[in-house]
Symmetry: C2
Subunit: 458 residues, 2 copies
Amino acid sequence: MEITSTNQEKTQSNFLKAMFENLKVKLKDMAMKTKKIGEDDPRRILHSIKVGFALTLVSLFYYFRPLYDGFGQAGMWAILTVVVVFEFSVGGTISKSLNRGGATLLAGALGVGAEYLANLCGERGEPIVLGILVFILAAVSTFTRFIPKVKRRYDYGVLIFILTFSLVAVSGARISEIMELAHQRLSTILIGGATCILVSLCIYPVWAGLDLHNLIASNILKLSASLQGFGSEFGNVVSSKDVRDKSYLQIHKSVLNSKATEESLANFAWWEPSHGRFKLNHPWKLYLNVGGIVRQCACLIEILSGCITNSKIQVVSEFEQKIQPSCVKMSMECGKALKEVSTAIKNMSSPPSSVALHLINSKAAADELKNIMENYPSSRNEADLQQIMPMLVVASILIDIIKFVEKIVVSVNELAEKAGFKQAQLLHRGIVKPVNNDDDDQLVIEIGEMKKPIGVGT
Amino acid sequence: MEITSTNQEKTQSNFLKAMFENLKVKLKDMAMKTKKIGEDDPRRILHSIKVGFALTLVSLFYYFRPLYDGFGQAGMWAILTVVVVFEFSVGGTISKSLNRGGATLLAGALGVGAEYLANLCGERGEPIVLGILVFILAAVSTFTRFIPKVKRRYDYGVLIFILTFSLVAVSGARISEIMELAHQRLSTILIGGATCILVSLCIYPVWAGLDLHNLIASNILKLSASLQGFGSEFGNVVSSKDVRDKSYLQIHKSVLNSKATEESLANFAWWEPSHGRFKLNHPWKLYLNVGGIVRQCACLIEILSGCITNSKIQVVSEFEQKIQPSCVKMSMECGKALKEVSTAIKNMSSPPSSVALHLINSKAAADELKNIMENYPSSRNEADLQQIMPMLVVASILIDIIKFVEKIVVSVNELAEKAGFKQAQLLHRGIVKPVNNDDDDQLVIEIGEMKKPIGVGT
């Protein structure tokens, strides 16, 4: 009897132990993941604290000073506004606050009008007229949310418009003090919205515009890292970091899917006031242009990385040995050009003239490659087409990449001009010898006040 | 004097005329655009009508039967729920309704607890304790919204949780009838949510799941149309429709950017009940798998269309004439395979065995191509590498596309198996001669109960 109970106890304690262990592992795992989210972007932690702060502020304000008819109605709308309106970025918060305020004002006025109209129709006609008006306004407003421009900028406003209009139109039938209600509602929304805007502006502001700016710069840098990675791979140039490190094959992946993020950041940035070196009319749309071309270039790099993953690029034949240096140079120079473009964006200056030099170098390498190809086969014992095919495709894609890098430079130059970036400092004035590892072709180019890359016919 | 006034009148009337004309053109333009939005997807018009209907229903219900303490409080929450919760798809509406209901229940209970705890601390301690509790809960909840899984499924719930908790915790300090308030709030939300769900379910329901299913099928069809367009272009096969029609170069573009849409549809689909031939546990995640591979394939097609736009593919040299039929066949057969896969998805059946035949045909063409390349240059007077380069790159990309088409078929087969699609009808049993235009290679393949494409080493 005793032994059985001891056994039972043992089983039980074992079971509990296992459960505890399991729970411990799960909790630890969750904690690790949560920690990572905070570490990835510490501003997230700050944002959470800011929301808590704004909400506590408004709550306590209404707790101590119940406005108008007790806390219920008025304070509720202030709390509601803070919870719904406070977004991660300043632009998001301002956009939602203004949308909410404007829509409430407009819908309130229309609601009063509807109420007045319905009153004219007598007691029997009133609900019918109100019903019809609510139906028409809700249906039409909902439809406008499908119009891209409205959806992009005023989606939340339309929602609040429908909401407020219905509330005012229908509630008006019971309470006659619509005007006071409207005053109350607007003042609470104002307090809630102003609290959000002030907190998000004054305590470590997160600017959607700056985020967009940095995102574009870092996306270009990622392409640069990929291209330089390919360059090392082709040339077997083993630098200190890149020893058998294939991570560069993955860097560009996130660029492929950044369209939605870029667009929402650009939408929010439109609402932001002048901050830092960004003026009120900063050309945010041009960032989307640059982003689009960067994504097309990332598409090419995706194919390139596919070529490298699928078929080990071998430099065996005489022909491959001949074109290898050109391939290395093309990807390295393109990578360098993009890196400088990215740095220029980061520093808010227009791309330096050395970018044009890198482009010229990469184009020289492309021409070299074309020369070699024209003379193929130079001898009878060269490898067949089937064998050199992977290398040829890589070379062709690299030539295409040069074109896209040029497009990126042109679009960034346009952006720099429109946004008033500071002029790039000319590193060298007068005669400049391009950075060139080969001694046999010494391109000598005169650089004056060159701003745009030198267009070279493809 | 008279003449001057007549002149003035004339100028005025001219000005008014011009203004009217201008307004007329603008209004016409706007009407055209709006009409197009409705025509693109007539369900949008239906959705707008449904929202208006649900809102009118709830408004009038509360207009005629003011529950509890007059219209103000209770009816307001029902209207608010309808406006905020009614989404385009059934899944979206259910997701938001359940999130709202669940979060309100949970936050209400916690709010009562917080209120009880604060009461214990005396009149002076109460606001401090409440303030601290609101701060902590708001900050922690806001942070959880950054966790991807929470963001995907419960973002709206967390928002409502913060809102309700703050309201209950702070308002409780004034009103003692929290329990009644909670009952009232929940019942109104229930009525609002139920109205939305019923209206969106019963009147021409828009299923996010079905939309996702059709989107994947139509994306695959788009790739197929692109590939068949390329095939015609390469082969100069002028069909009745394709005369100088370059629109096929654009078809695949929308596929490249469909990731965000697919993901949001899959999220909503998860909430939908069993509908049509979609069961409750339909493997929606697998659609995202297929979608990802389809997008990679679209990336290749983007490069291919770039090749064709940039450099006119010329079939001049002997070599190019040799590889041209293979290229035509590869893209045509891949296009046909994708078309059949798309049709199979549309009909909810697993891809038919003829898909495997098309794959075999396209691989045979690829092998043929490799043969030709191995023997290059077969004669001395052939074009140089530089000249045949565009055609070579096209050929190489087409070979890559075959691999992706195979991957698409495999992933669709997996989907068909997990989702319980009906078995494809075998068109031919026994010995089958593949569709093959060339007479010189008669592949004869025995097809039994083949479901997966025949794996051929690359």
